[in-house]
Amino acid sequence: MLDLEIVALCRGRDPAALEAMAEKYGAYCHRVAANVLGSDHDAEECVNDAYLAVWNAIPPADPPRLLPYLAKTTRNIALHRLERERARKRDSRMDLVLDELAEVLSGGRDPADEAEGAALMEAVNDFLRQKAKKTERALFLRRYFWGDSIGDLRALTGFSESKIKSQLMRTRKRLRAYLEERGLLP
């Protein structure tokens, strides 16, 4: 089923939209949720919440492409669930992943407001589009957006663990230098 058709079902308040989303994008959503939460069971609940959230959000939301919208929604729901359990899961894998990225993006301080954060992420997008090679870009996004573990990335790319780690580290360094050049980081 086309994305447009699924969105149309959502607009018509047709529950068939939930089945269509699950059939077409269930595997993607489950993976991103499981990567964040580290549990298939929790991921399943999270994904169902995400379908419902998307179904409720449309309308008024009108996503031009459904997968990124659904993936971001799933991811956010998973991350919020993780936050709730943070006290006892402080050392979860996703925390470690986010720590890696936070070190690059924050430079020790938080963006002053939403606008500053948006500008920062726009620069991240530019860096990924213009400065990163396709493999670099894939590794970066699979790690920091989708939350893939190093083992997942090994299976996905066929690279060795050390190569993946050093590649990610180089990309983070280059990204930091890129952001500093533009005055977005102190």
């Binding site: 936070a102 992420m121 997008n125 989708w146 790319t157």
Partner: protein, 412 residues
């Protein structure tokens, strides 16, 4: 930065980038195996294709048989595409003169001259060399080295794509070509110097299959045949039936059958050896005790008058005779003798006087596949464009009998 804010900021990641990363597929050993298999198949196809059709040319003239005229040897060489970095002779027709070496006579790099069957695409007489790319017939004057177009398909009909030609026979004053229009053929006889048609096109007769043979007057004629037995029809299967009457193609010379009664042959089994025609024949000999249908095969030789030459080519007491070439009254052949304890037979190059039957060894321990000779020079080759050709001189005694071969140059 707190994780909560980071979550929010990651929502600003570009949708295109998210989509692209979502499509990264997991590599599996099956996928890698498939890629390796594809690479292997591609390499195998390239290897086989390069063996069959892309022929990597050697630096010498290769092993394609050429033609001899007035002591010079003319041969196609350099067919195919060289491997990058590989040295090779330019593609074309080469002229080799013993003691002088070779020179490129006609560069065919830009022409699709098909050199694999030189009998159909190259011929020579005392004044000119003729060659064709199947649609154009060129003439090269051997004295002035001037090249002219003797005939081009479609000149009159204007439908060049549907016409092809092959060289049929070259004589001093005429060149006979076979022109094909679709599946219809006709013979054109051209002036060997001007290309002017010297007589009207001749259409093939349904009852005659003309073959390219040095033996003037030899042709396959469709003649009536008694109703063959079922087993004969099953074994040979080349009878034609018109109105209840059976016919077959009989090799005839001046209207009489060349082969004894019951023996059959076809154009592909006839070989021009120079002054001798070699004919591979077969006949039905009945069934064995188990009901298997049997046939006998034999090589027949005929001189220029169509008279049979006694020659037992078939294996006899561990000896095989393989006719290769002939000039004047001399027949050159290979004699292979089975050796106990060896996988391969002993092989000598022999010569026999077809009038007296006198035999001599020309070269011991020689295994020649193809021989082109004019009675003075011998060129031995293996028929392959990537093979080799050697040049020899025939030594004679005081009585004019050949006594041996002297190697002039190998891999010319």
């Amino acid at each position: 930065m707190k994780h909560e804010k980071l979550y929010a900021f990651l929502d600003y990641l570009d949708d295109d980038l998210v989509l692209e990363s979502a499509e990264v597929k997991k590599r599996t050993w099956r996928g890698r195996l498939l890629i390796a298999l594809c690479v292997f198949v591609i390499l195998a196809v390239v290897y086989v294709a390069s063996t069959w059709t892309i022929y990597h040319p050697p630096e010498d003239v290769g092993g394609t048989p050429g033609v001899l005229q007035d002591g010079a040897y003319y041969v196609y060489a350099g067919s195919g595409f060289p491997i990058p970095g590989q040295r090779s002779v330019p593609r074309g027709i080469w002229r080799y003169v013993p003691g002088e070496g070779k020179e490129l006579l006609v560069d065919t790099k830009e022409r699709q001259v098909f050199s694999i069957v030189p009998d159909w695409s190259m011929a020579i007489n005392s004044h000119s060399l003729y060659y064709t790319d199947w649609q154009t017939l060129w003439r090269l004057d051997l004295e002035t080295r001037e090249e002219t177009v003797l005939f081009r398909c479609g000149q009159t009909a204007g439908v060049r794509e549907e016409e092809n030609l092959i060289l049929h026979r070259v004589e001093e004053d005429t060149v006979v070509i076979q022109r094909w229009k679709g599946d219809q053929a006709e013979w054109l006889t051209l002036d060997s110097r001007t290309g002017r048609q010297v007589r009207p096109p001749e259409l093939p007769q349904d009852t005659v299959q003309t073959v390219t043979l040095s033996l003037d007057g030899a042709a396959f004629a469709l003649v009536p045949h008694p109703a063959p037995a079922d087993e004969v029809t099953e074994m040979f299967g080349d009878f034609t039936k018109y109105g209840g009457q059976y016919y077959w193609y009989d090799l005839q010379f001046e209207g009489r059958s060349l082969l004894p009664p019951g023996w059959r042959t076809d154009p592909g089994s006839c070989q021009d050896l120079g002054s001798v025609l070699s004919v591979g024949g077969w006949r039905y000999t009945g069934a064995d005790a188990d009901g298997h249908q049997l046939s006998e095969r034999k090589t027949f030789l005929f001189d220029s008058a169509g008279s049979p030459i006694p020659f037992e080519a078939e294996p006899k007491e561990g000896v095989w005779l393989i006719p290769l070439a002939a000039w004047d009254e001399w027949l050159c052949f290979t004699r292979e003798t089975q050796r106990p304890g060896y996988d391969t037979p002993a092989s000598d190059l022999m010569v026999r006087n077809i009038e007296t039957g006198q035999e001599r060894v020309l070269l011991e321990h020689a295994r020649f596949l193809l021989v082109i000779t004019d009675g003075t020079w011998v060129y031995s080759c293996d028929g392959s464009v990537t093979g080799h050709t050697d040049c020899w001189r025939i030594d004679y005694d005081d009585q004019g009998g050949p006594t041996g071969l002297t190697l002039i140059e190998d891999n010319i």
